[in-house]
């Protein structure tokens, strides 16, 4: 398909989004990532039944943590797409990049 998506998005592969834990998302923010999002399978279509639903709840938890410490919860997000949806993957990468650009650099990184 030769689709392109913003080069600032760094992909970390996991076998299932159910592997993504709260601490992984927090570590990304702690190390200075401006934003972090989880790209999971469509709801109801998890090969492991509920991995993406668990990831969704963990993303929600991290949003709450960010809110509690006065950071924009929108820096963490969950998206769902099927593995055959290349164009959607690229579109989501662009959408998230735009959203984070609008929020500006992470206050964690700018103070480092």
């Amino acid at each position: 398909m030769r689709l392109s998506y913003p080069t600032n998005v760094k992909v970390i592969q996991v076998p299932c989004t159910g592997r993504v834990d709260i601490i992984h998302l927090l570590k990304a923010i702690e190390e200075g990532a401006d934003g972090v999002y989880v790209a999971g399978c469509l709801e109801g279509e998890c090969h492991y039944l509920a991995g993406n639903l668990k990831a969704k709840k963990r993303v929600k938890y991290v949003k709450k943590v960010l809110e509690e410490i006065g950071m924009e919860p929108d820096r963490v997000e969950m998206f769902n797409m099927s593995s055959s949806e290349g164009p959607r993957f690229a579109a989501v990468a662009r959408e998230m990049t735009e959203k984070i650009k609008a929020l500006g650099p992470s206050p964690v990184r700018s103070k480092l």
């Binding site: 834990d21 702690e30 509690e68 410490i69 006065g70 964690v108 103070k111």
Partner: protein
């Protein structure tokens, strides 16, 4: 297990706001099982503190330790070589943890990261409910295995009261009327006659009313 809830992050951050080096101490006992104070939660709290302080441009070193238990001196002792390296210590064990740490290390500034709630169990994944109030004289065999001390809002020994409706307690539609459960179970077992027995006035001196309690087992003392 003893069930707790993490204090609001703002409260914890406020406690340690003047510190530059902090140790977060977890416990592998009850609070690990109720997902509030184990190794994983130590990592989450430590990371949250670091993010917050980096954001504010006031860097902090947050180290992480999780003890086997914080309610046994031999495990609390394991911090003796490091405790003086920190401005403050945040314990995310139940209320016993910060007290044992503070007793063992009188010069340390110890803070509780958890609000201890009750003795209970997991009724489903992510949901814990109170089951025991530690009254010091268990009576559950009289009530079909339900505890009216911990689970009746009025701790009635001869219930239900007029506030029972549709199986729920009048204080909240989310609270089961334990007396409804007791009557239902004993009726099913054909043991309703049990409820005709008069339970003598409870001696509350075995509970908190008798003051702070202690259990001594001479056979176990060294």
């Amino acid at each position: 297990m003893i069930v707790g809830e993490r204090k609001p992050l703002g409260d914890i951050l406020d406690m340690i706001k003047d510190y530059k080096k902090v140790l977060v101490v977890g416990c592998k006992g009850c609070v690990t099982v109720c997902n509030v104070g184990g190794e994983k939660e130590v990592g989450i709290l430590a990371s949250s503190i670091r993010i917050s302080r980096k954001k504010d441009g006031s860097e902090i070193t947050v180290d992480e330790r999780t003890l086997e238990r914080q309610c046994d001196p031999e495990y609390v002792d394991q911090l003796k070589d490091v405790v003086n390296d920190y401005d403050g210590i945040v314990s995310i064990a139940c209320g016993v943890g910060p007290q044992f740490l503070a007793e063992r290390y009188p010069d340390a500034a110890v803070y509780p990261g958890i609000n201890t709630q009750f003795m209970g169990g997991a009724v489903e994944h992510g949901v814990w409910a109170e089951r025991c109030q530690g009254c010091g004289a268990c009576l559950v065999h009289n009530f079909g295995g339900f505890c009216p001390i911990a689970r009746c809002s009025k701790s009635l020994l001869h219930g239900p009261c007029g506030g029972s409706g549709g199986g729920k307690c009048e204080i909240s539609k989310d609270v089961d009327c334990v007396w409804h459960l007791i009557v239902e179970k004993l009726a099913k077992q054909g043991k309703m006659a049990n409820l005709r027995r008069l339970i003598p006035t409870k001696n509350w001196s075995t509970s908190r009313d008798g003051g702070p309690r202690k259990v001594v087992r001479e056979d176990l003392k060294l």
